[in-house]
Subunit: 363 residues, 2 copies
């Protein structure tokens, strides 16, 4: 790799000896075979491969599916999956019982405490990388006053043209990740920036900022309250000071998945003075009875422009969202209940985001 790139620089002759760095020795006879993985084929099948000549058992796991793999005479294990729906899928290998990532694939889903590979099967116009105008992702670091000075990350999407439309102000979606992720989850895995780029290019959504905070603010039972303090005390002020955003609840939405679904429910419904759009996806908990009991139906219906609750039927959390929507119905609180096919996966959440974004800030 390094040798090839050094060669690339020599338009004519090298002025000095270009030798590979010690960490990148040249390929020698007896070294492992060249392995391509993953290989995405035009028929939407995917082949994954792993060189593991000494392993006794290798299998595929993750969103690509659970499948045994077979070894060839070079010691390369492989399996073909699909044809698959055009989407992005996580996967890893199980090698003699241990989880191993695909060393040939640098596209990674890095979560809290673990990482797996990602592979994309193109053909989904909602989330493919298309040659449309692109927004910008802004990566911030701040010390949270609400959390005693703790260093925190924050990702903000601004729509195409934001930097040059210096008189224009925008509404804001606060978008929260799940327990296994961090502030990069909604872009690295959720493709929120691509989804909104495509919706804007297709005229299906209004330009908005998307603010993606780190949802892990404190340990266990203290987390929702600590995150709420950080969001209301530090993040929203940072955003409203740093970016050209419109004030008022009608210009703020809060959505999230799993743990972030619970946070969007608790914080959004607890602050309808701040958020007129509340959209929990595959809600992963939340103090629903306490939040519900405090809601005045008439006042809530007056304030909220959208309460959108979605969950996949194959998600073990489905019953919780379903029961919550029954309670909301019994209390006469307007809402959209969106049961769908799917489990507790990013395939579901990317679809939900593409469904919900066009419903925000339309009025």
């Amino acid at each position: 790799m390094r040798r090839a790139a050094l060669t690339a620089l020599t338009a004519t002759a090298l002025f000095w000896a270009a030798t590979p760095a010690p960490s990148q020795p040249p390929t020698k006879a007896g070294q492992p075979p060249a392995v391509v993985s993953p290989e995405v084929r035009p028929d939407r099948t995917v082949i994954v491969r792993l060189h593991a000549p000494k392993a006794g058992d290798v299998a595929l796991s993750g969103e690509l599916g659970r499948k045994p793999m077979t070894k060839d005479d070079r010691g390369v294990w492989s399996v073909t999956v699909g044809p698959l729906e055009p989407d992005q899928y996580s996967y890893s290998f199980t090698v003699d019982g241990a989880t191993v990532v695909d060393p040939r694939n640098t596209k990674l889903k890095i979560g809290r405490g673990s990482f797996v590979n990602l592979v994309e099967v193109p053909g989904n116009p909602a989330q493919d990388l298309r040659p449309v105008p692109h927004g910008t992702l802004h990566v911030h670091r701040y010390e949270s006053k609400a959390l005693g000075g703790k260093s925190r990350g924050l990702v903000v999407y601004t729509p195409p043209g934001y930097e040059t439309a210096t008189d224009r102000h925008y509404p804001v979606l606060y978008l929260l990740h799940g327990s296994g992720d961090d502030e990069h989850g909604w872009t690295d895995v959720g493709l929120a920036h691509r989804i909104l780029d495509n919706l804007l290019a297709d005229g299906k959504a209004v330009p908005m900022l998307v603010v993606m905070p780190d949802g892990h603010a404190a340990e266990r039972s203290a987390n929702t309250q600590a995150f709420e303090a950080d969001l209301l005390g530090d993040i929203i002020p940072l955003v409203e000071k740093t970016y050209r955003v419109r004030p008022g609840a009608e210009n703020r939405a809060i959505a999230g998945l799993s743990m972030g679904g619970g946070q969007s429910w608790v914080i959004g419904m607890g602050h309808t003075d701040l958020f007129a759009y509340v959209c929990p996806f595959s809600m992963g908990g939340g103090n629903a009875p306490a939040v519900l009991s405090k809601l005045d139906p008439a006042e809530t219906n007056k304030r909220l422009k959208l309460l959108w609750i979605g969950c996949g039927r194959q998600d073990r959390l489905f019953g919780g969202s379903e029961r919550l929507c029954e309670e909301l119905k019994a209390k006469g609180i307007h809402h959209t209940w969106h049961p769908s096919e799917g489990a507790h996966t990013w395939m579901v959440w990317r679809k939900y985001l593409a469904d919900v974004m066009p419903q925000l800030f339309k009025s």
Copy 2:
């Protein structure tokens, strides 16, 4: 992990059954032992560990050093290194001849075609994450006209206060990565944003933008020329349209490491009308004779405010930079030759960046 975070949401009682997602089963008897890796200790030693009960031979490799590891009765291999200089180090494991990343460490250096782990030993005020005002990293995607519409990434650092100082304009450093990296290399591994945050907090540099493009524009021998076309035809116009930057060569610097050192030399010295500061680090090639032969010493000295060339004595590319500086001296072209200790590593390049940034845009 997921179970813990779900529990975190139940401020009082759960409204519905919170069960872990299928991909995150609860720990069972017979599962692998809990492994902490890496462990950075107060005496600046680092312990790395890997659970690999069936492996016959496990060793540490990378910037942490090459060392054999030993197995305990639970099947956990470990080794202690250091005490180390406060810095960031890459590492991976060699398991029965195969390169394996540390699955417990989500801090990764993701390069082109491979990835390894990173571990940081704190105590270096030049690059530690300190509670100082932080700049923002802006991640762009654009279709390069110079490269036939190719989709390209670009990372831009703006200094603290950029967003609110709406009348202020800034100089720009174009900062180029090496052949094994991409546009995220100088931040993810090079910590350029932290280094500049710290220099600014200490009053040692002037506020500037840092533009970090993707240096891979075409295959092999066509790369430097293709990258130059992208930089001059697409990137600089994008930056000057999108950001509040000062025009003119005296407000532009170009620096880079290894392959990017060669690019900064070829492009910078070929365009002293555009760049008054040229700083190749551990130059990885470049068409030095052709570039040199075209330089008019008097004109070059008049235009350039800084030509800074650094290389580590343990770098196999050292001789090339040394000979180039002898040629420059013979031609009477003003320059700073900075031979230092160190090999072809990021430990050297982070130091060079911290050395060079205070010398930019001072006049």
